[in-house]
Symmetry: C2
């Protein structure tokens, strides 16, 4: 019945010591009911004594299940050394969600141009993928449909309205935009500028803008397209967008920025132009990054449900793998009111 122990223990060693066959060990350790309780306990005890652990490689090879998820970040070239703080928070949440389910997490940063779409699941490294990244949506839309075509299990963080194919999980950006808009309207603002791209290349931002517009219209105000300025999600872009807004000469009494980093850049520009916040201009950001509480004045912002997001993303991937129905993909957000948007 098997060979004697030697070196790092294998299931054969346990089998030898327990006086059973290797398959019985395998079954016992996975809690298979077809092993009697008595032998199961004996085997588990011996395994514990020997500090035995199942070899993941052998196990994955045989069962074709890795119990691992690969998390793929990507950013389009910019910010080589800095990671978007929002994604970092997300990373924490995803890690926890995986740990809770006994999954391992592989992590990798990708440039948009890499062939990330094939590397992990094909190499049997992971059972599924989670995709995370800002950037021009059009650039990876093609990759995504390729993933769908290949039958890759994946979930992605993004805007839900824009792609029905593939499993996308995301905040209710439309509702969140409306929330921000209503808050600014309630505090008496009427001319609300939006800093952030608002086209189909950046659907998340676009939906936030749409939500703002909805709130304005509901209050009987027709949105002014001239108050929308493009900005990608970093501080410099926010500074430039706000500078352009100031230079345009148009009057405005509030700024809704598509991200906190944009908002922070904008506040710098406003300070440079001696506009007082919130007296002259109210500012609302998006994401509630740690720095948001530290600006002067502290930044009012929209907080996404990050800890829910990790859970939802992991659950969505698992649902695909196991053929279950995916969970609700849309997550609520809430407004964090701070000093940058007090009433006039």
């Amino acid at each position: 019945m098997g060979r004697a122990p030697s070196g790092r223990p294998t299931s054969f060693d346990i089998a030898y010591l327990a006086g059973v066959s290797q398959p019985t060990v395998s079954r016992a350790l996975r809690g298979d009911r077809s092993v009697s309780a008595a032998t199961r306990e004996r085997i588990q005890r011996i395994a514990a004594e020997l500090n035995y652990t199942v070899d993941k490689n052998a196990s994955s090879l045989r069962s074709q299940r890795t119990h691992t998820i690969a998390l793929l970040f990507f950013e389009d070239g910019t910010d080589e050394n800095l990671i978007n703080p929002f994604f970092l928070a997300m990373l924490g949440s995803i890690t926890r969600a995986c740990a809770n389910r006994g999954l391992d997490l592989l992590i990798s940063f990708q440039r948009m141009e890499d062939d990330w779409h094939t590397r992990y699941q094909d190499a049997k490294r992971a059972d599924g993928l989670i995709l995370l990244g800002y950037g021009d949506y059009a650039l990876y839309a093609a990759r995504i449909s390729q993933l769908v075509a290949q039958g890759t299990h994946f979930a992605r963080w993004g805007s839900i309205r824009s792609d029905r194919s593939g499993a996308t999980v995301g905040s209710d950006n439309l509702g969140a935009g409306r929330l921000a808009g209503e808050h600014l309207l309630e505090s008496g603002r009427r001319r609300i500028a939006f800093l952030g791209h608002a086209d189909e290349h950046y659907p998340e931002f676009a939906h936030r803008y749409d939500g703002l517009c909805e709130a304005l219209r509901a209050a009987g105000i027709e949105p002014d397209p001239a108050l929308q300025f493009d900005a990608l999600t970093n501080e410099d872009a926010g500074y430039r967008a706000a500078s352009a807004l100031l230079a345009s000469g148009r009057s405005f009494d509030a700024i809704f920025a598509a991200s906190d980093l944009i908002a922070i850049g904008a506040m710098r520009a406003l300070a440079g132009a001696s506009r007082r916040i919130p007296a002259d201009v109210a500012v609302v950001g998006f994401d509630n990054i740690p720095s948001a509480g530290l600006t002067t004045p502290p930044l009012t912002t929209v907080q996404q449900d990050i800890s829910g997001a990790g859970d939802r993303l992991v659950e969505t991937v698992l649902a695909q793998i196991e053929g279950r129905d995916p969970p609700e993909p849309r997550l609520p957000s809430r407004l964090i009111v701070r000093g940058s948007s007090s009433a006039i």
Copy 2:
């Protein structure tokens, strides 16, 4: 010569199509010189056409090398949902270092109490470990020697003077503390308080304090132990430590905080007590987290060589795995001077 292709391609399928044996395919794809250039190219072409990728599980099982490193974060209970920004930056750097070397990165957050010391390398999931975490050093010193005893390959981020066993990579905390001290002395400060633990439980902080003391003595000033206040690395602790300092009634004209988070908390306390920064009190932090540039006034701080750190950590683990000599473990830091510490 092997069976015909079916389903996801294997090395047998490639072999069949190329009219060679499976071992030859394996050798060709790994660039083994013992395969003639002609066949190697033919095989590579066919493999590319079929979108073939080596099955990592099978490969790892056979070769006993995973080409994967496991990154283990841990924090002692506090901050369940927030991750220390410094470690996040580190994560980015480590990820990049792994990618550059073709390594995969497994990531996992651990509580100090878990049995992380056995889970990864024993299960053959990773060739080596990187350990990252603040917390009471005494708490995991035992685990670390256990790792060493087991022959686990690992590198850890920490303070170098305090443990010779195992491979520790870290900043030159002593030198960095001296740097901060000299800067404050040059700007005319004489009574410099230190906020952060300074005992053997937190060797990194202790060495920063030691560096400060060295600088003081070199300037002919005997350090006043009453100006040192314990603080763990978060904002609240900084606030409390600074409050205690203020309440002590002792005079001081500068604060050197063991981390930026502590510094930020301290600045809040100073503002509450109407002490002007830097006119009344200069403040220097440590880490240069993103928020450091956003405080009012912007925080002078010490920047560790994070991108070098990731590289060094990965290299140290690899050196152990491959039996090479480890690289120099000590990394230099530099001072980032901002508004919080201008001359009086």
